[in-house]
C-alpha cells in the first residue's frame, strides 16, 4: 500500500539538491528545469511545490492514507517536497492544497501537466514506476475507423428528446448482425476514455467483436443515474427497441450489454434489475454501490446517494439474476473499492458469472479506459480464434 516515507538509502534527486551549495533560487530553478514533476525514482515519487505558503499538502483519496499529506519546506528555499512510495504500475490522482493565512486553495499541480479526469472534474496525475498507457488506447493509423453518428431518440419516459451518439464499426454492413453496447456518460467516455479509438483498435486487432455502441448523453446525471425508473424505461423500453428496429442488431440478451462507471454503474445495474430478461451482460466500472449494513442514513455520501443506498441495500438483501455475465472493475485506491468488492459475491449468489478486475488506480476516466480491453474482450470476444493469416 502507499506510504509516506522518509528519503531512503538511495540518493534521491531531492536529497542531492539538499546537499547542494549554495542552495539558492538559481539552484532550485535548475533543479526544476531538469526534472519532470512528480519525480519518479523507482518506487519513490517526489511531489513538489514552489512558492510562498504556510502549509502545502498533497490532497488525494487513496484508501488507507490520510486525505492530506503534508509537504516539507526545503530549508532556505521556497520549494516544498514530499516523498511517497507508490506500488509498481500505480496511477495516482491528486491536487495540491495550499494554505496562506486563512486562505486555503486546492489546485492542480502547476509543475505537472498530466491531468486525469473524473465525473467530478480534473486533477493532476502521478504515473508511478511501471505504469504505461496501454498502446491500444492510442490512435493506430493501421486501424480502420468506425463512424460516429448523432441521433435523437424522443423519450416519453424522460420527457425530452435524448441525444445519442452511435458508433458504427468500420465495414458496417446491413447484411451482418451486431451486438449492442449501451454506454452511460457517453460524451465523457468518448472524450476522456478515448472510447472511439479504443473500439477502433480492439476491433481492428480482433480482440473485440464488431459492435454497435450507443453513447448516452445524460442531462441530470445525478438524478437520472441514481436508480431512476424513467431512465431505466428510456434505455430498456425506448432506446434499445428503437435501435433494434433501425439497425441489424442481434436483438437478444446475449447481444445486449450495458456499461457504466461510477453513477453510470448504478444506472446500468438499475436498468437491468428493472428489466431482468433484457440484457445478457453488464460492465460495471467503479460503480457507486454505496450501501449500509445497519440503517440507511449514515452512508456518508450526501443526499445524492440516498436513492443509490436505498437501491443497493435492497438489491443486496435479495440479489436477483439480471444478466448472465457481469464484469466488475475498480481501482484499489478508490474509496469505492470496498463496496465493489462486496458486490462480487452478491452478484455470484444470484447465479451470474462475474469477472472482477482491480487496478492500482483511482476513480477516473483513464482507469476506466484502461479496463476497456479486459471488459469488452470478455463480453464480446473478437474473432481472433477464427483468423489465421
Amino acid at each position: 500500500m502507499t506510504t509516506a516515507v522518509s528519503a531512503g538509502p538511495r540518493r534521491l534527486a531531492i536529497n542531492q539538491l539538499k546537499d547542494q551549495k549554495p542552495l539558492d533560487a538559481a539552484a532550485v530553478d535548475e533543479f526544476l528545469d531538469s526534472h519532470d514533476v512528480p519525480i519518479v525514482e523507482g518506487s519513490r515519487c517526489t511531489f513538489l511545490f514552489r512558492g510562498e505558503a504556510d502549509e502545502v499538502h498533497v490532497a488525494q483519496r487513496i484508501v488507507g492514507l490520510a486525505d492530506l499529506l503534508p509537504l516539507r519546506r526545503l530549508w532556505g528555499t521556497d520549494l516544498w517536497y514530499l516523498v511517497l512510495e507508490l506500488p509498481e504500475g500505480s496511477r495516482v490522482d491528486y491536487q495540491l492544497e495550499i494554505r496562506r493565512g486563512e486562505h486555503v486553495e486546492r489546485i492542480n499541480d502547476p509543475l505537472n501537466h498530466d491531468l486525469s479526469h473524473s465525473p467530478v472534474g480534473s486533477s493532476s496525475v502521478c504515473f508511478a514506476h511501471g505504469y504505461e498507457t496501454p498502446e491500444w488506447t492510442l490512435p493506430d493509423p493501421e486501424a480502420r475507423q468506425g463512424d460516429l453518428v448523432e441521433m435523437t431518440v424522443p423519450s416519453r419516459a424522460l420527457g425530452r428528446d435524448c441525444p445519442v451518439t452511435l458508433y458504427l464499426p468500420a465495414r458496417f454492413r446491413r447484411t451482418t448482425t451486431y451486438p449492442l453496447l449501451v454506454v452511460h456518460d457517453g460524451p465523457d467516455f468518448l472524450q476522456y476514455a478515448a472510447a472511439k479509438t479504443v473500439l477502433d483498435n480492439l476491433i481492428h486487432r480482433l480482440d473485440v467483436a464488431e459492435t454497435v455502441v450507443a453513447f448516452l448523453h445524460p442531462q441530470e446525471r445525478l438524478t437520472e443515474y441514481a436508480n431512476s425508473t424513467a431512465h431505466s424505461r428510456f434505455v430498456s423500453d425506448e432506446l434499445v427497441p428503437r435501435l433494434e428496429a433501425d439497425l441489424p442488431l442481434m436483438g437478444k440478451p446475449s447481444g445486449r450489454c450495458l456499461l457504466g462507471s461510477s453513477f453510470g454503474g448504478v444506472a446500468s445495474l438499475s436498468a437491468a434489475v428493472k428489466s431482468p430478461t433484457t440484457y445478457g451482460s453488464l460492465i460495471l466500472m467503479s460503480g457507486s454501490f454505496v450501501f449500509t449494513d445497519i440503517g440507511a442514513a449514515d452512508h456518508g455520501g450526501g443526499p445524492v446517494f440516498d436513492p443509490v443506498v436505498k437501491f443497493v441495500n435492497k438489491y443486496r438483501a435479495r440479489p436477483t439474476h439480471v444478466a448472465d455475465r457481469v464484469f466488475v472493475s475498480c481501482g484499489v485506491f478508490e474509496p469505492l473499492i470496498v463496496p465493489n468488492r462486496s458486490m462480487v459475491p452478491t452478484f455470484e449468489s444470484a447465479g451470474m458469472t462475474v469477472r472482477y478486475v482491480e487496478a492500482r488506480d483511482g476513480h477516473s476516466w483513464e482507469n476506466w479506459r484502461d479496463r476497456l480491453r479486459d471488459a469488452l474482450s470478455w463480453i464480446y470476444p473478437g474473432p481472433q480464434k477464427f483468423v489465421y493469416e
Binding site: T175, D207, R355, P381, P383, K385, V387
Partner: protein
Amino acid sequence: MSREVVLLGSQRRPSVQHVVRDLDPHARIATVTAGWREREPDDAEMNEILGGRAVNLSLHARWQDLLEKDRDYAVAEREHDAALEELRQLYLTQLDHALGATYEIAGGKEGRPRFRDRVLADALELVRMADEQHLVRVREAHLEFYDAWQPQARPLLAAHREQVREILQSATAVVIAGGHVGELVRVLHLFHVEPHLPGLVVAWSAGAMALTERVVLFHDYVPHGVAQTEVMGEGLGLLSDLVPLPDARRRLRVNDPVRMSVLARRFAPARCLVLDDGVRVRLTAGGLPAEARVVDHEGRITQVEAA
C-alpha cells in the same frame, strides 16, 4: 483423380511460388482469398508471385452479391448463423468445465499415477464426446438449413456455382490463402468448390484448416486469459486425421506440456500438425512426411518419425 495437397505455413515471407514453379507457365491457377473478407480483391501481389496466372474465384464477393440480391436467403442465413452461435456458446460452456477438469487432472503431481491416468482418460473421453456431439449438431443444423432453403435451386447461387465450376475446371491448381476460417469454410461449401478441385491444392493457414474433416480453432493468448480450443465444424474433408496448427508457436502455449499433451491426445488419432512460418508439407497417400512436425502425446513438438 489423384490429388496432391501441399500445406504451407503463413505467407509472411511467401513460399507458395516454389510449389507452383514447375507448373506449365500458361496453366491457370485458381485462387481463393475469401478468408481475407472485404480485402479479397487485394490479391495483386499474390497474382504476381504466381506468375500472373491467378484467377480469383471471388467467393466472398459472390457471397455478398447473393446476400444483397436474395434478401430472403440473407435473412435465413442470418438466422442460421444465430442458431449456430447459440450451439457454439452452449458447447463452449460445456468445454470450459470439461477441459478445466482435464487440465487439472493432467497437471496433478500427487497421488497414484495409475489412478490419475485412468481418470484423465475418462476426462479426455468426455471432452471428445462434447466435440463429437457438437460436430453432429452443427452438421444437423446445416442439413436442416440446406433442406429448408435449397440453395442449389436458387437461380443466382446456381449461376455463381456454375461460374466457379468453370474456373476450377480450367485450372491446373488451386491456391487457398488464410484469413477468417469460418467465412472461408462457409463460402467453400456454399459454392460447392470441393467436387471440382483440380489436381494440385496448395493452402496455408486458414486455407489448410478448411481442407480438413473437422476444423479446430485455437488461441491460447486472448486479452482476458486463455481461449479454449474448440471444434468449429466440418471442412472440405480433403484431409483426414489431421489438425493443422498454423502459427502454433505464436498462438499456443507450446511450453506448457500439460495443455499441449491434452491437445494432442484429445484429437488422436488425428495428428496435430505444426504449420509455422516457412513450413511446407507435401501430403501423399502415405500421410504426413517423416520430417513434418507434430505435437506428440507428451506435449512436445517433434518430427513425425519420432512421435
